[in-house]
Amino acid sequence: MSAQHDAAQAVESYAGERYKYGFVTDVEADSAPPGLDHDTIRFISAKKGEPEWLLAWRIKAFERWLQMEDEEPTWAKLHYPPIDYQDACYYSAPKSDADRPKSLDEVDPELLKTYEKLGIPLQEQEMLAGVAVDAVFDSVSVATTFKDKLAEMGIIFCSISEAVKEHPALVQRYLGSVVPYSDNFFATLNSAVFTDGSFVYVPKGVRCPMELSTYFRINAANTGQFERTLIIADEGSYVSYLEGCTAPMRDENQLHAAVVELVALDDAEIKYSTVQNWYPGDAEGRGGIYNFVTKRGACRGANAKISWTQVETGSAITWKYPSCILQGDNSVGEFYSIAITNNRQQADTGTKMIHIGRNTRSRIVSKGIAAGRSDSTYRGLVRVQPKAEGARNHTQCDSLLIGDTCGAHTVPYIESRNPTARVEHEATTSKISEDQLFYCRQRGIEEEDAVALIVNGFCREVLQELPMEFAVEAQKLVAISLEGSVG
């Protein structure tokens, strides 16, 4: 991680706090009491100074959600105690410095060990662990230069709250256009109570010159458990967006339900990469984040392309299916995924590729690795609509089991309604061979390192889709995630 990152993050944290306290509302309190009703929604909306249409949209979502009581998904291969949604807190101001750890000495040493293995600089460790730090002001220029450069090209990159104020037409036009407020239990909840997230708009013909990362995002701090991200790539544009962080983030909220919407118009391309390493709980499965995410991209225009790449190693529960709606003729959807579960983690993840336009193509490469007492499930849907002439899909799902107390499952749904379409699905399940381990160890590589090496090889097709910087860290992460799984 570069010094630039450190600085930018420090700045963004500072700016975020100022921003939070910077606008006036008629509500005195900083936090909503636990529970969810119409007033909670109004409180959130007022806190954020939102226009009437957005409040109305939130209320509509909330009312729909109230009718969804029995629609909390049960089809995933996930087991967790019922969630009391009235017990959660839906809006809270950032923690004051007094509540945070004073220094790294007060932080869980296990967490620090992991940071060290990932090679994360000290200052960044403090940020991640939530230590109260002073922002470094002489670095303001870094973020400013960065913003200026994007602005020059007409690229909008800001928090969604800011976008609601500054670019209401764009937000109103696209928000909920890919994931409607009524889409599913978790997305509907998110629509009602989302607190913040990112907004990106890349104008016609512009190729975004850098990877946009949540690191650089202004007002990134405490986006909370209900993140909402909207990315629009106008005709002929290109953007690569990086979400998340290889380092395990400290987080107070156990329940996360994010929504990400991508829109790619004619000839546009969006590449969305995620590394998710939230707290997975301890070895016995206590604690850990519940991560229920709805991610969907629409290739609205001809020749549009959306590519999802994800490395999922964290969270106690992962429920996530980044999908592509291939509306435009010749549009392309890709999904590259690595999901690693260890100890008591459960991941049910995959994708949906909906072929609507002619000659649409999709490619799915999923690598699931299960160790410990965990369960890893690939669940995917490939649907070819009647008009998707010449559509093509190829799906490859490979699972690797480490030890005999874990489970690896593959649940693909294939629905084809066009005879000219060609849909192919292949899946395998295997373990690391004794021969491979012996060979590596004979060359002096320790067993745990050998496992990491072999697993990284197994994941290579996906790792190589990640932007360079991310890929290197992701490889380390693969190794760390599997620690203690052999021997």
């Binding site: 012996f438 590596c440 004979q442 002096g444 590589i445 390192d449 090496l453 090889g457 290579r460």
Partner: protein, 252 residues
């Protein structure tokens, strides 16, 4: 360097080695020859510590230490190298990545500085050119889709980089045409030195035309039945194992 005494080993409960004795001094190259099924590969695997090869009696002493008490990687780190007869394919793991990981593991163990990417690339280039290995091969996944000759040359490259004290070459000559054999043999010879011992396991004597051994041992029925100088290998070639009264069936 290596002293093996009264070694007995079983595989799946079946006795394969039945009282094998062998001593190799520093700087010596010993050839172990024998008919199929005589226990040659088992000897190599027992030295390397492969699971499933159970030592039921006897001892193996390596540089004064009990080799059998060491884990697979401890043996490798302390200088025992096995050139595999059938190197395994590891999909997705780049050859160069693998080499760097292994070399740095060994260097770290020796208390030497680990190579960075640039230093390592330079070193590999120097070593691989001598073995006729092109850069393309280094960029492919380890052993995946390699021809028989490429796999063996890759084993030699690893040996050159890891600089072992004791190299066990298990049928390194099998599956090689005469040109490849010469390349491999010159690679082996380049590594001969006063501090390095080699155990060359082979079925045929042709490799020994190029890698001239100090001693030749004949393995049959899980024991060394004859030992001699280079001439023993030539004698074997003339009369075959049968000529020594060592039909494979008699050996079993």
């Amino acid at each position: 360097m290596l002293t093996i005494e009264n070694l007995h080993a079983t595989v799946d409960g079946k006795p394969i080695l039945n009282g094998l004795d062998l001593a190799v001094n520093a700087g010596e190259v010993h050839a172990v020859m024998g008919p199929n099924g005589s226990g040659k590969s088992t000897l190599a695997y027992v030295i390397a510590g492969r699971e499933g090869y159970e030592v039921t009696a006897g001892s193996v002493t390596y540089r004064g230490a009990d080799l059998l008490a060491m884990s697979i990687e401890e043996r490798a780190l302390s200088g025992v190298f096995l050139a595999f007869q059938y190197p395994v394919e590891i999909p997705g793991v780049g050859s160069a990545t693998f080499l760097k990981t292994a070399v740095n593991a060994v260097r770290k163990h020796r208390g030497e500085k680990e190579y960075d990417a640039m230093e390592f690339l330079k070193l590999v280039k120097e070593k691989r050119t001598a073995l006729g290995i092109d850069d393309g091969m280094m960029r492919r996944a380890l052993n995946v889709g390699f021809s028989g000759g490429e796999k063996k040359r890759n084993e030699m490259l690893q040996m050159a980089l890891l600089e072992p004290a004791l190299a066990v070459l298990d049928e390194t000559d099998s599956g090689l045409d005469i040109d490849a054999l010469k390349v491999v043999a010159s690679g082996i010879n380049a590594l001969r030195g006063p501090e390095r011992s080699m155990l060359v396991i082979t079925h045929y004597q042709r490799l020994l035309d190029h890698v001239v051994p100090d001693r030749v041992h004949v393995l049959a029925g899980g024991r060394i039945v004859r030992s001699g100088g280079r001439e023993l290998a030539l004698e074997l070639e003339k009369s075959g194992y049968a000529g020594l009264g060592l039909e494979p069936s008699a050996a079993a």
